[in-house]
């Protein structure tokens, strides 16, 4: 791993617990991401995923350790790291355009109104909200609100995007469409992305790397799973890839059983050198029942176009 665009170095988060004791949510957490990489974090509720994301965003400070972005330790929030909030967090007294323009004018303080509007409009168009600029958030559907959140995050042309379960409140159809959009935009703009999700298929579709976290308290980063699917992947034929089920079963196995037992079964786990799992590569054993379906390799290459249907 030569390029460490983002490097989380030994961070811990502790809260004062009952009776003077301290509760350690996680400690000695190390992880790194390369530029342009799309990383997903999967783990059970309460293991500290949001805390890690907030620390990366600078909204929260670690009790120990540091976060290095682009060679510099971060202190506080930055316009370089845009956050897409789970609850979209739009300002309800502003219109769609007003919400995006607020971000644009925060980044470029000297721009005049016309320039700010034009720039904001470009990103509203990008997320497919042309025509809804003058609507208020209360007049939008959940999916449209989250699109505004995405437009707002992208409009400040950040170095990375941080997303905390951005699609978990949406219905399946809208979620699929927005996943396509985010994937397309991240690929086009070469965004580095860090996304928390509960949805295994979402992680498989979007991520280059998947971080698996064990249950809290005292959660650890157990494995980094490399996604064996080609970068140029389509939603509809995802499941036809020969390694799809192996990957999916590996993650689900982890969530169902290993996330609970990991810390006791692997006492020699080194948090600084978290094992990287490469599904399908020699040296890694996958349970024989991991491939319930005969691989249909032949159907894969022709279908490798990112789906942008909406």
């Amino acid at each position: 791993m030569a390029d460490k665009f983002i490097s989380i170095e030994g961070i811990a988060k502790r809260y004062p617990g009952a009776g003077g004791a301290t509760t350690t949510i996680f400690e000695n957490l190390w992880l790194s991401m390369a530029r342009g990489e799309f990383c997903c974090v999967i783990g059970h509720s309460g293991c500290g995923k949001t805390t890690v994301l907030n620390i990366l965003a600078g909204l929260d400070a670690p009790s120990e350790g540091a976060v290095i972005v682009d060679g510099q330790a971060i202190s506080g929030t930055s316009l370089d790291r845009a956050v897409i909030f789970q609850s979209h967090a739009l300002l309800p007294w502003r219109t769609v355009l007003g919400n995006v323009a607020y971000a644009v004018s925060s980044k470029w303080r000297s721009w005049d109104r016309a320039k700010v509007r034009a720039h904001a409009q470009k990103f509203i168009d990008l997320v497919g909200l042309s025509g809804a600029e003058h609507k208020r958030p209360s007049e939008l559907s959940g999916g449209m609100k989250q699109r505004v959140g995405i437009a707002r995050a992208l409009s400040i042309t950040p170095k990375m995007m941080l997303m905390d379960e951005p699609f978990s409140a949406l219905d399946a159809l809208t979620r699929g469409t927005l996943q396509d959009e985010v994937r397309r935009i991240c690929l086009e703009t070469g965004q580095t992305a860090f996304m928390i999700t509960h949805d295994v298929d979402e992680a498989i579709y979007l991520a280059d790397k998947i971080f698996l976290m064990t249950n809290g308290p005292g959660a650890v980063l157990a494995e980094v799973v490399e996604n064996p699917l080609p970068r140029d992947r389509g939603r509809t034929d995802l499941h036809r890839h020969p390694l799809y089920y192996a990957l999916r079963n590996h993650i689900i196995d982890f969530l169902v059983t290993r996330s609970k037992t990991f810390t006791t079964e692997k006492p020699d786990h080194d948090p600084r050198n978290v094992p990287t799992v490469q599904i399908g590569k020699p040296g890694l054993s996958i349970a024989s029942d991991a491939k319930p379906e005969a691989p249909r390799e032949t159907s894969w290459p022709g279908l490798s176009r990112p789906s942008t249907s909406s």
Binding site: G76, A89, W93, Y102, S138
Partner: protein, 280 residues
Amino acid sequence: MMTTSLRLRAGLVSLVLLAAFLGIWHLATRSTAQVTTMSPEYAKLMGLTATQGKSAMPGPLDVGAKLWEHLKRPFYDNGPNDKGLGIQLGYSIARVGTGYLLAVLVAIPLGFLIGMSPLLSKALDPFIQVLKPISPLAWMPLALYTIKDSSISAIFVIFICSIWPMLLNTVFGVATVRKEWINVARTLEVGTVRRAFTVILPAAAPTILTGMRISIGIAWLVIVAAEMLVGGTGIGYFVWNEWNNLSITNVIIAILLIGIVGMLLDQILARFTRMVTFPE
């Protein structure tokens, strides 16, 4: 369709109730031409009321006629004890306006500071808790003694009584702005002052305006009592003066006008509140 017919019917019922009220009032207060037997000295003392069966309570027609007289010349000024109702109301509104605006200027910035600072919030809480329940009129002697001007003392009393709802609502509104909106501003590296004006103020505005609406109501309640105490001018003084003149007709007219002005002030603030309220 449904709502218009409902509104129409409600309006009709209101009119019927008003007519019934005026009718009963009229019947209850009309002359009964029945002379009661009493000693002549006492009858002389009591005047028409007792001798000709005329009720001491004016009827709606008397009040209406008198009101019409007042409305025809609201701004006449025949010396300290005889001024038009418009002038008296004007004095009261000016006092309420001055005291209230001063309270806005103090309460909203101070509420912002307290709401944004947990330290100040905790430090000032005991003072606010003690000062808030004090009846504004209890300050009057102290104000008269220190300020030595009755009109300014009345303004001070309005200031004191209208500051608390605004202050407490501002503190509450500012302290309870949704964390995620603050976080949006933080991730955009928005400075404290810009954050206060672009996120906290609009988010807290409905709560602040609600406090301002409560305050104006209290201020208008208090001004009548304060002017009764300090005297000189104002609608409160007018009520007291007319009571001393035993002109119940004028007292009733003043009561009616106090109600109407209070309603208008409340409606103005209600409109402002609607303007800053945002649907979520």
